[in-house]
Amino acid sequence: MANIFPRWTNTLPLKILVALVFIGGGVAAAMNYYFTPKYTRVGYMPSQPIPFSHQIHAGQLGMDCRYCHSHVEKSGHANIPTADTCYRCHQHVKTNSPHIAKIKEAVETGKALEWVKVHKVPDYAYFNHSVHVNSGVSCVNCHGKVNEMPVVWHDQSQSMAWCLDCHRNPEKALRPMDKITNLDWTAESAGKDQKDLGEALKKAWKIHPPDNCAACHR
């Protein structure tokens, strides 16, 4: 009786196995890279209804973050400025721009401008800006150097692991409280070592960032 399966099939199981290992490994590696916030979020840069440039306002003009994000020290939300806030200056500045016309329209009609959300914290996570900016954590730690961004992009992964990394080692991020909105400031630029400075601030200010679930999830 002739063989039903030709001879080369003998190695087939092994080949399949090897192929599966490679495919599986590849999938795992791809998922590890592409399916994490580091890849899916960082660099996200949607175009906004008005091409507002932080580079000009916060960088060149040197406006403080809190001029527009006015409630950041009091509320969990760092509010997006009202159209009125923009218009206070722009009723005099660059009034011919079609984009300023949109702001004018919003102020006059009361209809909100729809900015596209860049940083999206899940519904079940409750992040609070005020406690961070009042405890020596700078805007730059989570948002990057926004003062150099013509269009805001997602700078850090903002995943839970990333949050916890800082909550467990806050000394990496702490800085004097008057340097919170100075995005160009670094410990090195002030001639200090970040770790030493962070440790000192952590101790003096009783910084014990919670790392239990209920701190952020409720």
Binding site: T82, Y126, N128, P176, A200
Partner: protein, 1176 residues
């Protein structure tokens, strides 16, 4: 080695605490059912067909949903941020903003503080600053925020049932006004409810001045009509009592449920409970004493130190007895003459007592002696459903007791001349009315007794050409038969005003612009009727919402004008203060000019009083529902699903009878999720009600809560309950006297009866009607956890609570027992530190949270349950799911009855056989309540069994629930000894549990249709949700979090603002800035949980256990403090203070039965039941 823990039996001290008749009778199978916390879903399916289709559906739907889920996950969703165009004043996005306002209602408006998020009202709390509030709220006020978001609310004008617009109505009104002006208002009638609204009252006064022929009528079924008549007779027109029960040492209630549905002010419970504060045994005798004479068990009756069963219809006789007894002791001839002037029909001796034949009369004598002893600090309260004669007697007795000027102040509330509904019905039938305007939340046609006028009110109103109904409920019978429906604003979206019971003016200010354009407030409607200028063709007035310039709304001006008229030297700053504080200082009602009641007038009026003999008959009493009141809240899901304080019935009303009467009717006492149905026939009308036996109810009496069984109640109230209004008569509106044969158990299902005609969702009534009743849900192996004693017991042994329950089984004093309890296998730790040493679990040195609940103050009103629901986004699940034991309330209110162990046939062991089941013992039980939520055990049994660490401890002592980790094994719920965990069997927040679907002809609840089920009206209900609490999804466990969101907000606030403040104070922003613990610690008692805030009795303390000044630490030092199931050594963070009763020793000496009834330790003989397997 596996160790099986044998729970020790409770030490029995002569009393039995039980939650249901089933439990008392220890019927086979019931314990097993109780132990199964979650009745299994498939087994609970009603029949084979349902099971079959469900399985098939399930597989089909699973396939579809998986496919859909795969597709939906591909794209990154884009979200928009929409900032305000102009920043509204005070609003900080993400922060709660509090506004003071008030809820206009009868007797006294309820002052409130409203939580708003970006302009959305989400949660209500009382306004503590107002003189007539202690910051608590009753159940209905608490739930009223949900009515704002009711999708069935009136949204547009209707002309004869057809949608119309405001312009059309104004055209009609303009034409009508011209007619009215010509006739001086002849033919115009305005029917209002009893809500206290000064501006409305002022405008009505102006209207009558302008149109002298116009008539005002006033109606509220459970209103103050009888009180008004009595006080007008005894004092002067417009006189009304304002009570301060904190000044009363002795309170006698004649059928007055003043802690429940019979409101005498916002703060009656709070003031009463001030005198129930007991820190140490010495405080015991300083407590007040409450006597209650009532027919049905109410929450007030449950708080009574002595409760006497008196038929509602016979309360007048009880009042006469009390009056004569007081008169004999005080020698008050006027009172004696007044009491004796009443012509009594028949002699009434109350309920017979086996051990003391004349207990009934002796009770009044002893109570009178006690009242007279505390002359000047004792008071008699009469229920508002009692005839004016009872109120007159109460006034006369109070005068003899010197209560006026001390406990009661007589205020002049200003008299509005208004007719009654009876008079309106007569005028309408007599065709004297051309235009009737109905304002308020009542439904007069539904509520009116059918014999109010020949043919009933609906026929009478047919003779009125124009009926204009101003309401938020567009489908009431009154509205349905009207010519115009004017959609009304909710009180949270209007300008208005109201006054507390003592008169302090509270301004109602809008929290939100009206959700539906075109709605009018009552003030706006009256202004429209009053205005001379034509309304049609004018631009609509700007809605008077927040963010709008205030003076554009014309209601605003009217409210302001009233303010200026009431407040002395009005000014802009006083107005602004009133808006900020929620009340105008110095605006209390003036004292009445008559300082004392006229005994002569009382005597003369009492001589005309009508009394009814009960004889061998049966009384049917009609009472306001503890949830939906007179029916106005029928479409409020929170109230519908709140278990009734007494019967624990949700979604329905039932007839309630005593155990003896029930037995005489042949009712099976042992129904679980159902009840047998009786027919009640009054004046030839037959109605059907499921019937429940509640011990402690008067015999030969049937109590039916009204308001249910509305023809068209909206999506929530549809098909719920049974109407009782139809059985009422105009002569005796709150009770009906019938022959015993008029009430019968039905033996076959009823369909096609006129009792169900036109009622949506009610086609037939089965012999056994299914009931969503939570009485036996989440019971704990039948263990009773409630502990109580008398003042005497407490003084004898300050740690008497430790002698009861499972702790009573241990030996020695409190310390020894605690030491014995402190044995544990479980050493909780928060992992290891770098050196491998275990980290202590509770390592927060700033805060450790705890709660204490004082059972001495808790009435069982369930306001906490509703407050919790409102704060924590807890969904309703519908009747079908409640029957399956799946209600989601984080706080359950356990209601226990306590009966004497001796006479409940327990002398021959603890078993009570069904046959030997002794209903004699069910006559005079005590009632105790205990709210139970998650106890936040330090060594939590739930945490150790969770396979995915979804429930873990926080360093500050909370047992927290991580929804995203939860995979729904429900192990935690099974291992929770307190049964405090709830499982989301369905996506209750997303799917509508109130709809029946039909698939292949088989009816099933919409929840079971999975993704094909009906969605909630999410846009509207979303607006109520608290943005700081996650909405839980199907398949996860949830439970009390100690209001984690409030703790976290406070902690963030303390840290952020503490550091910020220190930085600004010191000028340092680097390491020279030193932060101390005190800078970042939450201030003492700085957080209130939602339940604590809502509690009108102030029975809950919550706070930081590391703060020695906190209320919770002080309360824990009270010797009444005990932990539930302390022997488990779970170290619960919630503890309880045992209940203390303050009985009259003279009454205890009088009757053995009374002695057994009151207080556990008052028994001399302690029955020790030998325990087996107790492992200590």
């Amino acid at each position: 080695m596996k160790r099986i823990w044998q729970h020790p039996d409770e030490k029995t001290t002569g009393k039995r605490y039980w939650r249901s008749l089933n439990q008392l009778a220890e019927r086979p199978g019931t314990l097993e059912a109780r132990v199964r916390e979650f009745p299994d879903g498939v087994e609970a399916l009603k029949d084979e067909a349902e099971a079959e289709t469900s399985r098939r559906n399930f597989i089909k739907l699973m396939g579809a949903s998986t496919a859909l889920a795969g597709l939906a996950a591909c794209r990154r969703p884009e979200f928009a941020i929409k900032p305000y165009a102009k920043a509204p004043e005070w609003v900080i996005p993400g922060k709660v903003l509090f506004y003071a306002t008030a809820m206009p209602r009868a007797v006294s408006g309820t002052p409130m503080v409203v939580h708003t998020f970006e302009g959305r009202p989400t949660h209500l709390q009382g306004n503590k600053l107002h003189p007539d509030s202690n910051g608590g709220l009753d159940i209905q006020a608490q739930a009223s925020v949900l009515n704002l978001y009711d999708p069935n609310r009136a949204q547009s004008f209707q002309k004869a049932g057809v949608k119309a617009d405001r312009e059309e109505f104004y055209k009609f009104l303009d034409a009508k006004k011209a007619e009215l002006a010509a006739k001086q208002g002849g033919g115009l009638a305005i029917l209002i409810d009893e809500a206290v609204t000064p501006t409305r009252q002022r405008l009505l006064g102006e209207l009558v001045k302008k149109h002298p022929q116009a008539k005002i009528y006033r109606h509220e079924t459970f209103g103050q009509a009888n009180v008004r008549v009595a006080y007008a007779t005894a004092f002067e027109a417009g006189a009304a009592p304002a009570y301060d029960l904190s000044k009363a040492d002795r309170v006698f209630s004649l059928d007055c449920d003043f802690m429940g549905q019979d409101r005498i002010g916002n703060n009656a419970t709070g003031q009463f409970m001030v005198r129930r504060k007991a820190d140490a045994p010495e405080d015991g005798p300083k407590m007040n004493r409450l006597y209650v004479a009532e027919g049905r068990f109410t929450v007030t009756g449950g708080m009574a130190d002595h409760r006497l069963r008196v038929h509602t219809s016979q309360t007048l006789k009880a009042a006469v007895r009390l009056g004569i007894a007081v008169a004999e002791l005080t020698g008050d001839a006027g009172l004696k003459a007044a009491a004796e002037a009443v012509k009594l029909a028949g002699s009434y001796q109350g309920h017979a007592r086996s051990d003391k034949a004349d207990f009934y009369s002796a009770f009044f004598k002893e109570a009178a002696k006690d009242l007279v002893e505390k002359k000047g600090a004792s008071v008699v309260l009469a229920g508002s459903q009692q005839d004016a004669a009872v109120h007159l007697l109460a006034i006369a007795i109070n005068q003899a007791l010197g209560a006026f000027g001390t406990v009661i102040q007589i205020r002049q509330t200003g008299s509005l001349v208004a007719g009654t509904l009876d008079e309106l019905a007569a005028s309408a039938a007599g065709k004297q009315i051309d235009t009737l305007v109905v304002i308020g939340e009542t439904d007069p046609v539904f509520e009116a007794p059918p014999d109010i006028v020949a043919g009933g009110l609906s026929a009478a109103l047919k003779a009125v050409p124009n009926v204009i109904v101003h309401t938020t409920r567009p489908k009431t019978i009154t509205a349905a038969s009207s010519s115009w429906v004017v959609p009304a604003t909710h009180y949270l979206e209007q300008w208005g005003d109201t006054r507390g019971s003592e008169g302090s003016l509270a301004v109602v200010q809008p929290m939100i612009a009206p959700l539906y354009s075109g709605v009018l407030s009552d003030v706006e409607l009256l202004l429209a009727v009053l205005s001379d200028a034509p309304l049609a063709g004018q631009p609509a007035p700007a809605p008077s919402g927040p963010g709008q310039p205030e003076d554009t709304g014309f209601a605003f001006k009217a409210v302001r004008a009233t303010f200026d008229a009431i407040v002395k030297d009005p000014s802009e700053s006083k107005w602004n203060n009133a808006l900020r504080d929620g009340f105008a200082a110095g605006s209390a009602y003036p004292s009445a000019s008559a300082a004392a009641a006229s005994m002569q007038a009382i005597g003369a009026a009492l001589a005309q009083a009508k009394d009814v003999d009960i004889g061998e008959g049966l009384e049917i009493t009609f009472v306001p529902c503890s949830k939906i009141h007179d029916g106005r809240y029928i479409n409020n899901g929170w109230l519908q699903e709140a278990p009734d304080s007494m019967s624990k019935v949700t979604w329905d009303n039932v007839a309630i009878v005593s155990v003896k009467t029930g037995k005489a009717l042949g009712i099976n006492p042992f129904t679980e999720d159902s009840a047998e149905v009786i027919s009640v026939e009054v004046n030839g009308l037959k109605r059907y009600y499921p019937v429940l036996m509640i011990p402690g109810h008067a015999d030969n009496s049937v109590t039916i809560a009204t308001g249910y069984g509305q023809a068209s109640a909206g999506r929530v109230g549809k098909g719920t309950g049974f109407d009782a209004y139809a059985l009422r008569s105009a002569a005796t509106p709150y009770f009906a006297m019938v022959a015993p044969t008029a009430v019968r158990k039905i033996t076959e299902k009823v369909s096609g009866s006129d009792a169900m005609k036109g009622i949506e969702g009610r086609e037939e009534i089965p012999v056994v009607y299914p009931l969503g009743r939570t009485e036996e849900h989440h019971t704990m192996y039948g263990r009773a956890l409630v502990r109580e004693g008398t003042v005497e017991d407490w003084q004898k042994d300050k740690d008497f609570v430790m002698q009861q329950g499972t702790d009573g089984h241990l030996h020695g004093d409190r310390e020894a027992k605690n030491a014995e309890n402190s044995y544990s296998f479980y050493k909780p730790a928060a992992g290891n530190d770098e050196n491998g040493k275990p980290i202590e679990l509770l390592n927060d040195t700033l805060h450790q949270w705890g709660m204490v609940i004082d059972l001495n103050k808790c009435t069982g009103c369930t306001a906490c349950t509703i407050a919790c629901q409102s704060e924590n986004n807890i969904p309703i699940v519908g009747k079908d799911q409640v029957i399956r034991g799946r209600e989601m309330h984080w706080i359950r209110m356990d209601r226990y009855f306590a009966t004497d162990l001796d006479s409940d046939a327990a002398q021959n062991g603890r078993k009570v056989e069904k046959e030997a089941w002794n209903e004699d013992n069910m006559d005079e039980p005590e009632m105790l309540v205990q709210p139970v939520g998650c106890q936040h055990c330090e060594a939590a049994p739930c945490e150790s069994v969770c396979p995915v660490n979804a429930t873990v401890h926080t360093p500050d002592g909370l047992n927290s629930m991580v929804y995203n980790r939860c995979i729904g094994t429900r192990y935690c719920a099974n291992n929770c000894p307190f049964k405090a965990r709830r499982f989301n069997f369905f996506d209750y927040n997303k799917r509508n549990p109130l709809v029946e679907n039909s698939f292949l002809g088989i009816k099933h609840n919409s929840l079971y249709s999975g993704p094909f089920g009906q969605r909630q009206d999410t846009e509207l209900s979303k607006l109520q949700k608290n943005p700081n609490v996650s909405i839980r999804m199907r398949g996860v466990i949830e439970k009390c979090t100690y209001c984690l969101q409030r703790i976290e907000s406070a902690r963030v606030e303390a840290r952020a603002q503490g550091r910020r403040r220190r930085r600004l104070e010191t000028g340092h922003s680097d390491e020279k800035l030193v932060i101390e613990d005190k800078d970042i610690r939450i201030p003492t008692d700085g957080i209130k949980t939602a339940c604590q805030e809502a509690c009108p009795a102030e029975a809950i303390a919550f706070g930081n256990r590391l703060d020695k000044d906190s209320a919770v630490e002080k309360w824990r030092k009270n010797s009444r403090n005990y932990e539930l199931l302390g022997y488990l050594n779970v170290r619960a963070r919630t503890t309880y203070l045992g209940r203390i009763k303050n009985p009259n020793l003279a009454l205890l000496a009088l009757s053995k039965l009374e002695k057994e009834k009151v207080g556990q330790g008052s028994k001399t003989r302690h029955v020790h039941v030998q325990t087996e397997g107790a492992a200590h």
